[in-house]
């Protein structure tokens, strides 16, 4: 926990915030933007631009950003967890649940 990393919350009701710099497990996350200051540590290696959970989010519960549901949790999410394709699914676009977690590249398209 040698570094403090900034997370930016857009709307007071959000349960996720966006990392402005890369974070490693155990690093303290410094809150900026809307909503209440929270004490958080990054749970996993999480890249800048990606989201972390501000509080516990049960499976099937809404992931909220901009004060609006951006997807549903596909697994229980703990505070500080990286929230992305592996634990959050779109309510519209089924394909995005089949993309590579890190590159976003499609995994189901056949090249033959």
């Amino acid at each position: 926990m040698s570094h403090q990393r900034v997370i930016f919350q857009i709307h007071a009701q959000d349960n996720v915030a966006t990392l402005l710099e890369n974070a490693s497990p155990g690093e303290v996350l410094t809150h900026r933007g809307e909503g209440q200051d929270v004490v958080l540590r990054a749970a996993q290696e999480t890249a800048a631009g990606h989201k972390v959970a501000l509080r516990f989010i049960p499976e099937e519960a809404a992931i909220i950003k901009y004060g609006v549901t951006i997807g549903l949790a596909t697994a229980p999410i703990r505070p500080g967890d990286w929230v992305h394709l592996h634990n959050c699914k779109s309510q519209y676009d089924s394909r995005s649940s089949h993309l590579d977690l890190n590159s976003g590249a499609p995994t189901e398209t056949r090249y033959e």
Partner: protein, 400 residues
């Protein structure tokens, strides 16, 4: 944003431009090389064109809208000679707007070299004719400004688009006009969209526009989100939608226009570029950023803002493209390409309001003639393709 005035170009049809361009339009891919060679080295001469031999009313409407754009003073239409789209008809319609226009077929000029020579002579004639176009005072209320985003990352929705949204609020409060599009990037936001309608009639048209876009996305199983977006931290189309929607600011939406239509009065307008039902089912909505930018220009936007978090190197013909990033690292790494750093909002060195004021100053300078970075680099990408949109009441196609 104060009530400043500066100087622009007054067209015979009353529109006011911030550039004084000759536009070369080719009517089939076979004429593309010659068209570009004609414009090569000619000052303030841009090129657009349509690659298909078989004509398309959507593409023709789009080219006619671009040919009569406020920033365009004159048009040269160049065809090969055997395609369906008729350069003579394009020039004829452009002339009815009071702009000088010429046209010719390459096959009647004796080939590449003589066509380029002839085309350059015509461009010189047109340039001479539009040098006399009257200058006029213009202000915010004379401007139509479009906004597109592309190459998005997590910062576009956090800073880039919100700064544009705040600038748009100010522009509209000064009597100006703002146009945004990317309806397919509003999937998941039906109630947010409808809540912004200026009246009940607009609410109905927003609902129909939204439903069409959602059906379209389901049908083609393609939402406007790409591997690079996911890698950048966006997880769902809904999340991207909200970030994209932030560029629209907070003012009421006055209505929905289709490609090549112009807003009937000032305020905030949504452009619908999604294809309508057609037996051929051709046309892809937002196939790339350039297509969306060209669509916004067709609405008469004299300037287009382009928000890119990851960094894009494109520009646009006809209307200067102002490139904005919400990512300070992208701004440093691609500084020769990016005009404005909204990332300072995330760095904590500027408030949203301060950034929007600074963007307004930049836009006013560009409207007064300052070149944007894409203009300085010579970027003039365009993309016009087959599509079908129902737009009753608009000028019919130009098929001979």
């Amino acid at each position: 944003m104060s009530d400043l005035e500066w100087t622009g170009y007054l067209r015979a049809d009353g529109r006011k431009g911030v550039r004084n361009l000759v536009l070369v339009i080719y009517t089939v891919q076979c004429a593309e090389f010659v068209a570009h060679q004609i414009a090569q080295g000619e000052p303030d001469t841009h090129v657009i064109g349509f690659p298909g031999c078989y004509d398309n009313e959507y593409a023709i409407r789009l080219m006619l809208a671009l040919g009569r754009h406020p920033n365009v003073g004159a048009v040269l239409a160049v065809g090969l000679g055997c395609e369906y789209t008729q350069p003579g008809r394009i020039a004829e319609v452009v002339r009815t707007s009071g702009r000088p226009a010429r046209s010719f077929f390459i096959q009647q000029q004796g080939g590449t070299t003589s066509s380029i020579r002839h085309g350059k002579e015509l461009v010189h004639e047109l340039r001479h004719e539009i040098e006399a176009v009257p200058r006029t005072l213009i202000t915010w209320s004379d401007l139509v400004i479009g906004c597109e985003c592309g190459g998005s990352d997590g910062t576009s929705g956090l800073a880039g688009n919100p700064v544009v949204g705040r600038f748009f609020d100010g522009l509209i409060d000064q009597g100006g006009t703002a146009v945004f599009e990317e309806v397919v990037e509003m999937i998941g936001l039906r109630s947010e969209l409808e809540a912004r309608a200026a009246n009940e009639e607009v609410r109905t048209s927003l609902r129909h526009t939204y439903q069409k876009a959602e059906q379209y996305c389901r049908a083609v199983r393609q939402y406007s989100v790409s591997p690079g977006n996911f890698a950048g931290g966006l997880t769902t189309i809904e999340e991207k939608s909200l970030g994209a929607f932030a560029k629209s600011g907070t003012r009421p939406i006055q209505g929905v226009i289709k490609v090549a239509e112009t807003p009937s009065h000032p305020g905030l307008w949504l452009m619908d570029s999604v294809p309508d039902e057609h037996f051929m089912q051709f046309g892809y909505t937002n196939p790339n950023d350039t297509e969306g930018i060209v669509d916004l220009i067709s609405a008469g936007a004299q300037i287009v803002l382009f928000v890119t978090g990851r960094g894009s190197v494109i520009g646009s013909p006809i209307a200067p493209l102002v490139k904005i990033t919400g990512n300070s690292k992208t701004f440093r790494q691609m500084n020769e390409d990016i005009d404005f750093n909204a990332g300072e909002v995330l760095d904590g060195t500027l408030t949203l309001e301060q950034a929007a004021t600074s963007l307004a100053t930049l836009v006013r300078n560009v409207a007064s003639g300052t070149l944007t970075k894409p203009e300085m680099l010579g970027h003039r990408e365009y993309f016009i393709m087959y599509k079908h949109q129902n737009t009753p009441g608009l000028l019919e196609g130009c098929r001979a």
